[in-house]
């Protein structure tokens, strides 16, 4: 890490063009300035709020549908083809059409991010429900537990670890999409700020915002991981790549 910073510094000193490659010190100064006048937090807050809203929307849509698809084979047969047709079309490919329909504003990034987060969460929920140990379900049924209670007390807790991994995948893919969506079609947010400062050739500021995107993505993942350990301690640490 230290070697990397030293190399960066040497290269920046050699190029000596702050618009092309600023020194680490210049980036730190830009960071301090942007944090000082709260601009950094404003854009980060906007992006985060959009992210949370989209995540909530995607979860509300995908988890019930995933539970139903995992439990009911007929529904799975009917809905799955539509999912498999839409899934390969990445959220980003929807941007031009969505831009036309929704215009520049909050709706576009939220739509794109919800779409991007929807598929990982849905597939994770279905896989989680399918992987529930049949013996637990049979045991509950033998003891005369009604179906709704079996779902609430057996299926959902057993599917939770897989659901949490799916949630992390959903966050990762929608966080990638937010940058693209804001870069092209939003008047605010981290992606917009990056593009704004690029046009002004203020590279230190560009790098600051890029770092902010990385850091927020990292902490989001950490937070979800911690949440997983808190709410589903029975889940073995599942790794995603």
């Amino acid at each position: 890490m230290a070697v990397f910073v030293a190399l960066w510094w040497a290269l920046a000193a050699w190029i000596s063009n702050p618009a092309l490659l600023p020194t680490p010190l210049a980036v730190l100064k830009a960071l301090a300035a942007l944090a000082g006048d709260l601009e950094l937090f404003l854009h980060a807050g906007i992006s985060l709020a959009r992210m949370l809203l989209s995540l909530a929307l995607a979860t509300l849509l995908a988890v019930p549908l995933g539970l139903a698809m995992g439990l009911n084979r007929l529904l799975d047969h009917i809905v799955d083809p539509v999912i498999e047709i839409l899934r390969p079309i990445s959220g980003i490919a929807w941007i031009p059409l969505a831009l036309f329909i929704l215009g520049v504003g909050n709706a576009l990034p939220v739509f794109i991010m919800t779409y991007a987060a929807f598929f990982p969460i849905l597939l994770g929920t279905v896989a989680g429900v399918r992987s529930v140990d049949k013996r637990f379900v049979d045991a509950a049924r033998t003891m005369g537990v009604p179906r709704a209670r079996i779902v609430a007390k057996v299926v959902v807790p057993a599917a939770l670890p897989s659901l949490l991994v799916a949630l992390r995948l959903g966050v990762a893919s929608s966080w990638t999409a937010v940058v693209a969506a804001e870069l092209i079609g939003a008047p605010s947010g981290l992606g917009y700020a990056i593009e704004w400062y690029r046009e002004l050739l203020l590279t230190p500021q560009v790098m600051t915002f890029i770092a902010a995107i990385g850091l927020l993505g990292y902490f989001f993942d950490r937070g979800l991981r911690a949440m997983g350990q808190r709410f589903a301690p029975w889940a073995a640490e599942a790794r995603i790549s």
Partner: protein
């Protein structure tokens, strides 16, 4: 017992069941779109006509080929860097200690976020797009390769060491074959990410370069959005993007099965 009855019922009319909802949705889309009365509203029949036009004129295949060329170039660069690095990280703890923090600090930064820097350094042409693809594809490959190389059965490594194999020989005869399935998974994830990244990169370059053509499917979509406002053609592009993503994934899966018949992936 219940599984058997499920299976027999599932066999009844599986094809009809699978296509029922897609066809119903297409019909609803067609009726709703035509009812609006606006001839620009995309509906399935118009999308189909637009698709025929774009394929016949050669615009769509050309754009797809341009994008695919960039994806393969970036992907090859990423694989060329990430596989050796991942193997080294898996085989030598000292390499991993030094490189891993660096990788983990760049991994959360989405490829698209690098795009402004790429445009700044390389302009709005093909090199910037290739850089984005290579960046996006690098991380899944390196992480999976390193994980695969580390997960090798230690008994095999000790056996090889006992028989006096050199470090390099152990890497080439034990670690590489053992890590191959994980490398394959990494390559497959990376290909999906790379294809998404190229569309995003070309879209953004199109949006920011004012249509000054560097080509590709993403750019084509942006031109249809911003200049000629042809929604039917945008939908054609979206479907093409999805089909290519599907085809790439299937091709890689088939390739993996050929390369590793002992794995049932």
């Amino acid at each position: 017992m219940s599984a058997v009855s499920h299976a027999s019922r599932g066999l009844a009319l599986p094809a009809a069941r699978s296509i029922a909802l897609p066809i119903a949705l297409l019909v609803v889309w067609q009726i709703a779109g035509t009812a609006g009365g606006n001839p620009r509203t995309p509906v399935p029949t118009r999308v189909l006509a637009a698709a025929m036009q774009l394929v016949e004129s050669g615009d769509l295949p050309l754009a797809l080929l341009q994008s695919l060329g960039r994806v393969f170039a970036g992907f090859a660069i990423a694989a060329g860097l990430a596989i050796p690095l991942g193997l080294a990280m898996g085989a030598f703890a000292s390499v991993e200690r030094n490189v891993d923090p660096l990788i983990e600090s760049f991994r959360p930064i989405a490829a698209i976020a690098i795009l402004p820097l790429a445009i700044l350094w390389l302009g709005t042409g093909t090199p910037a797009a290739i850089l984005i693809v290579a960046y996006a594809a690098f991380f899944p490959i390196v992480v999976n390769t390193a994980a695969g190389a580390k997960r090798i059965n230690p008994t095999l490594l000790r056996a090889a060491a006992t028989m006096g194999l050199t470090r390099l020989k152990i890497i080439s005869t034990v670690i590489v074959p053992g890590a191959l399935p994980a490398i394959g998974v990494g390559l497959r994830i990376a290909m999906g990410v790379a294809w998404t990244a190229i569309v995003a990169a070309e879209l953004a370059v199109g949006a920011k370069a004012g249509g000054g053509g560097s080509g590709g499917i993403g750019q084509m979509m942006f031109v249809f959005y911003a200049y000629s406002i042809e929604l039917n053609r945008i939908v054609v592009c979206m479907i093409a993007v999805g089909l290519v993503a599907l085809a790439l994934d299937r091709a890689l899966r088939a390739g993996m099965r050929r390369a590793m018949p002992w794995m049932s992936a």
